[in-house]
Structure formats: C-alpha cells, structure tokens
C-alpha cells in the first residue's frame, strides 16, 4: 500500500507519453487505488467529491470550453485545461516528497524521527487520498470529450436519425432489419439522454 503512491507518481509523469491502451490502464489503476485507499474510507462523501456533480461537472465553476463567439474548440480546451495543470503538479510534488520521505525512513533507526516522518507521510497520504478521485477524474477527462459537446452531438444526431428513420420506413418498410436497427439505436440514444437529464 505504501509503495503505491510513488508508483502512481511515476506513472503520472509518463502518462502523457504512453499510448491509449496504457493510458486507460493507468486511469483504471488510479480509480482502483482510490477505492482501496484506507485513509479515504472514513471520509465523508461531500469532502471527497467537493465541487463536482454525478456527471463529473464542476458545480462552482463553469467549463467555458466553448461559446458562440469564440468558435474554437482548441482555445476552449486550452482554457479548460489550464486550472488542471497546477493541481497535478502540486500533487506530483507531494507524492515525490512522500516517496523520498519513505526512502529516508528505511535507513533510520531513531524512533522519534520515524514517528515524525510517518506523521508527515500520513498527512500527505491523507491529502493525496483526498485528491485521488479528482486526479482520476481529470486524467479521464484528458482523453474524453467535454460533456456539453457530447450532449450537443447526441442531440443533433438524434434529430438527424429521427428524420432518417422516417425515410427508412417509407423507403424500405417498417419491418426491414435496417429500419429496426435504426429504431433500436434511436431508442438507446434517447435513453442515454434522459438518463443524463434525470441525473442532472
């Protein structure tokens, strides 16, 4: 357990260079370690998930990734990513500090200094554990598209596909397997959308 945060820190520094598969496994590891973390078990949910709703969207601050005026996904993404970077830096530093403090502990025999070191390490582990779900969330967001964009795409696709369904029904009939397939797909999209709205 004690070695895991340092492992995580190493992985986090390599994360940007790794390919998609290893990135997904890193993210899964982050989420797994988050749930196994002992310090987190007694933490109230509100503290762990401060500032984020069930969809992972920030409640206090809006993600201004796009606006009709700017019309640039790049600028919006850059703007939305800026606040994430300092948090990651600080957390990586914390983990490195913790890792080095752990290495020091192995060599020392003095119990008092050991106790102090353990205190500092436990404090930092608490902080890390507190921030772990956030880190995992932000790591996931690096590879995912923003939720407002997904919503816009799905809503538009739903309108297009609903009209296409009518053409299918008129052209090839309601009983054709392609028509049924399209109908099922549209229902699936609608369910996903209503689930998201219900959660909101």
């Amino acid at each position: 357990m004690e070695e895991k945060p340092s492992k995580v820190s190493l992985k986090s520094s390599d994360r940007h260079d790794s390919d998609k598969e290893s990135m997904h496994s890193d993210i899964r590891d982050l989420w797994t370690r988050t749930t196994l973390s002992q310090a987190q078990l007694n933490m109230p949910l509100s503290e762990v998930c401060e500032g984020f709703d069930a969809e992972g969207r920030s409640i206090s601050k809006t993600r201004g990734w796009y606006s009709p005026g700017s019309r640039s996904l790049d600028e919006g993404d850059k703007a939305s990513h800026k606040p994430e970077e300092p948090d990651e830096h600080a957390l990586v530093e914390l983990e490195l500090h913790r890792g080095s403090s752990m290495e020091i502990n192995l060599g020392e025999k003095d119990t008092a200094s050991q106790i102090e070191a353990e205190k500092s390490s436990s404090m930092s582990s608490l902080n890390i554990a507190k921030h772990m779900p956030h880190r995992a969330y932000w790591a996931e967001q690096q590879s995912r598209l923003p939720l407002p964009l997904m919503e816009l795409m799905e809503n538009e696709a739903l309108e297009i596909l609903t009209k296409a369904l009518r053409s299918y029904q008129l052209g090839i009939g309601r009983d054709h397997f392609l028509t049924k397939e399209l109908q099922r797909y549209i229902e699936g999209l609608k369910k996903r959308r209503s689930k998201r709205l219900y959660v909101n």
């Binding site: 019309r71 996904l73 598209l145 816009l152 795409m153 538009e156 009209k163 797909y185």
Partner: protein
Amino acid sequence: MRLKQGSFLWYLYLDKIYCLLSVRNVKALAEYFHILDVHGKNTLNDVLFYHFLHHVTDLKKAQINIVFDMLDWNAMGEIGFEQFYMLVCMLLAHQNHLEGQFMYRHSRPVFDLLDLKGDLRIGAKNFGMYRFLFNIHKQELKDLFHDFDVTGDNLLNYQEFKLYTIIYIDKLQRRQKTEEKEKGDRKRRQNEKSLLKKKMSHQV
C-alpha cells in the same frame, strides 16, 4: 451554402493557413461520425448522409446527391470517415471564406474529386456542377477556362488547375494588401483631420 448556426460543425475551426482541422477537432468529428454510424460499419449510407447534410446546411436535395456521388469515389453507396472529413473541411472553408486557400493547399485531392471520369482532366460542365462548393461564379468559371486552358482542349489538366489556384491566391493576397493599405490611409486621413480640428479649436 451556409452552415446552420448552432450546429456541431458550426463550432469547428479550420486552420487558416493549412485549411485543416486540429487533432482535437478531428477527435470530436470522429466521435460525431461514430454517433451517426448507426449500422456499425464506419460508414454513412446515402440516406443518413442526405439527412445529415440537409440538417446542417441549406443545400438542396439535388446538390446533396451530387456531393454524395462526388465523395463516393469507390462507388460503394457509402462514405467513410476520410471522405466525411474532406467534406467537413470543404464546408468550413466555404463558411470561413477560405475556398481559394483550401483549393491551393489541397489542389491534388480537390482535382481528384472533380475529375469524375478519372481521365486526369476536368471539364467545364463537371466543374460547373460543383462550383457552389467553392463559391465560384459562372463568369469566373468561364474566365478560368479561358485563361488557364493552355492546351486548348476545353479541359483542365492538373498543372493548369494548380496554376489557377496559385494565381488565385496571389490575386487574393494582393487584394488583401491593397485593402489593408486603403484602411491604413483612411485611418491616417481621419487622424490628420481630427488633429487639424483640434488645432483650429485651440487657435479660436
């Protein structure tokens, strides 16, 4: 031809020099294509394509059908993501008045698209069918063939087409320079006028 305001494509952005989408925009576009790919074949058939283009642009049915025929270069009755990406770049270039830049930067693929018969030549009739995509007026097209059909066969080969795109860009850049110069002159004259007025008011 206009993109519908507030549609997904309306929010995408072409690089002004190379007339291509950024990696993030391509990722978003790929996801959008994936959502529209109802049958899981990584393609859009003619019905889905028609409804998509009808929803996001103001193109008419006949225009949408000829665009589909142009993009369905394998004659499969479906278009894949490559062709979809090409189409989106053309639509965005048109929307942002970058048609000339787009044709200059991507002259080879544009020429291949317009070369419907595959004989490495573009006829005036074929080019005329697709001039709405590149915002070329009838008279401009006539002048194009008159000025650049060096071989005199009423067909454009690739070199003639490329020459047209180079000269088009050159003219565009010169026009932009003269416009900027005129703007600058106008501003200077306005500043001089305001300075004179101030001087006159001080003297009074």
